[in-house]
Amino acid sequence: MIKLAQAGRSAPSVALAQQQLNKMPYAAFLGVSLRVGPDGLETLTPDRADLIGNTNLPALHGGVVGSLLDITGMLTLVFLKALDRSPRLVDMDIDYLRSGQALPTHGRAEIVRAGRRMANVRARLWQDDPERPIAIGRLQFLFPKS
């Protein structure tokens, strides 16, 4: 049974993740890029003046942090499940752990559980040190109807 189920699973697809990223104007506006290494998919936003929320510190806008969690979770799902359309984000819960500096920000996500209709995803962001995440997020996605 397990073998059958695994055989039915599609292989991760970088091409589909990149295609999904390319057709997302808001991600282009943020300057999000992705790369896939041995550890899976990783997203990146640049250090850019217009992503700042507090100019005194300076600190990344909380909305940018939330956006990268959302986009990272979504692209990871598209990548791992080889989806040709984007899943719909139903709700998300963000814990802000540290103030985001004016630095490039990395994102990574994992699927906690994927059923037939929904996927529960955890995403995390970090800047200079992967061991010091600036935010984590729990996201619930609804798969597109096939």
Binding site: K23, P25, Y26, G53, H61, G62, G66, D93, I94
Partner: protein, 156 residues
């Protein structure tokens, strides 16, 4: 809305980049922010709807402003978002303007709790609801408002 917030001409750079506008006509309690639909806010080039992240970012920003608008908040006090939860109820068309209202429901000088809703401006469809918690001040620089310094301006 407080005089302070009305005089706030300087949006955070990211709020400016998205196109957020403070709705000055709103009489409170809480504050409202408008975000007109625009191409760069799109979640999907084919669907022409607001990206969920854009709705989230506007809720985050509006929630922060509603703390700064609270009568007990001393301007200059640092503020950190601890967490934010958003339910995305309905997708919003880019032909619409998003209107986010945030109300502070608890404020004790250390912690503030905010609830927010996002609607379409014209059709008043509920788009999203949000809930955020903030920490005010830092151990070195607590909330500046004191009876002797009610406006919370610079201490020296």
């Amino acid at each position: 809305m407080s005089l302070f917030l009305k005089s706030l001409k300087e949006l955070p750079p990211f709020g400016q980049a998205l196109g957020m506008v403070l709705e000055e006509a709103d009489t409170g309690p809480g504050v409202a922010v408008l975000l007109p639909g625009a191409e760069h806010l799109s979640g999907d080039a084919e669907d022409a709807v607001f990206h969920t992240s854009v709705i989230l970012a506007t809720i985050d920003n509006t929630a922060g402003w509603c703390i700064r608008d609270h009568p007990d908040y001393a301007e200059g006090t640092s503020m950190a978002t601890l967490d934010l939860r958003v339910d995305f109820v309905t997708p919003a068309r880019l032909s619409e303007t998003l209107r986010v209202r945030a109300v502070c429901e608890g404020f004790d000088g250390d912690i503030a709790f905010v609830r927010a809703t996002a609607q379409t401006l014209k059709t008043k469809v509920l788009i999203a609801t949000g809930q955020a918690t903030f920490m005010l001040g830092t151990p070195d620089m607590p909330n500046l408002a004191t009876p002797a310094n009610a406006l919370g301006g610079p201490v020296d």
